[in-house]
């Protein structure tokens, strides 16, 4: 990917990319995570918010299979918040 193609949020700033998947059910959050992470530089972070009840096991499986890293995982009622670091 050339620099010109990168969205502003991933073009070298320290800003964490935000991915809001609230209200979306399996498999949409994982698909959007995969697509969006490709626009994030390796080593940088993405914060994902989700309400899919299966989000936690899905995210753990995604981490295990892809080799990317879940830096933090929080649950507040029905809402999950994951911070992911792109390693691959």
């Amino acid at each position: 990917m050339t620099d010109a193609m990168k969205p502003p949020s991933a073009a070298g700033s320290d800003e964490t990319v935000l991915l809001d998947c609230r209200g979306q059910l399996c498999p949409v959050p994982i698909i959007r995570l995969s697509k969006t992470l490709k626009s994030v530089e390796v080593g940088r972070l993405l914060k994902m918010i989700a309400t899919d009840p299966g989000a936690e096991p899905d995210m753990k499986a995604w981490e295990k299979q892809t080799g990317n890293q879940i830096v933090s995982s929080l649950r507040d009622g029905k809402e999950f918040q994951f911070v992911v670091r792109r390693l691959k």
Binding site: C26, P27, S34
Partner: protein, 128 residues
């Protein structure tokens, strides 16, 4: 991940337009696997090829409890955009009175030997 090479899953879809509520799940799972950086294929056999008949993806909705969901074409496009490969079984085309001319773009026709080769090569084969 223990190994460097991508994991491979081959899904087998035997249902088509005769069972709309059985059409979408393999597509969802295949898309999720592709989003996990796996190499994924779907082999459409028995009635599965009817899902790939020209005109069907734009006209058949995936059933939901609260009414009609999105068109099956939306989910097929999403899967292919993620890199999922579609294969169709030649004898199953005959079974459904179809030829490759009736099949949407981007589908590869393979025979039984090629399917068995893919199955042995895959880490998992999952049939529906």
């Amino acid at each position: 991940m223990d190994e460097q090479r991508p994991r491979k899953i081959l899904y087998v879809q035997t249902y088509g337009v005769e069972a709309p509520d059985r059409m979408a799940t393999p597509i969802y799972l295949a898309s999720a696997a592709a989003a996990m950086d796996m190499e994924v294929g779907i082999y459409f056999t028995v009635h599965g090829p009817t899902m790939l008949r020209k005109g069907v993806p734009e006209s058949v909705h995936v059933k939901k409890a609260d009414g009609e969901g999105a068109l099956i074409g939306h989910f097929l496009d999403q899967a292919r955009e993620l890199g999922v490969k579609f294969y169709v079984c030649q004898p199953s085309l005959d079974l459904n009175g179809m030829t490759m001319a009736d099949v949407i773009e981007g589908v590869e026709m393979i025979g039984g030997a090629a399917f068995n080769d893919m199955a042995v090569d895959a880490d998992q084969v999952i049939s529906f």
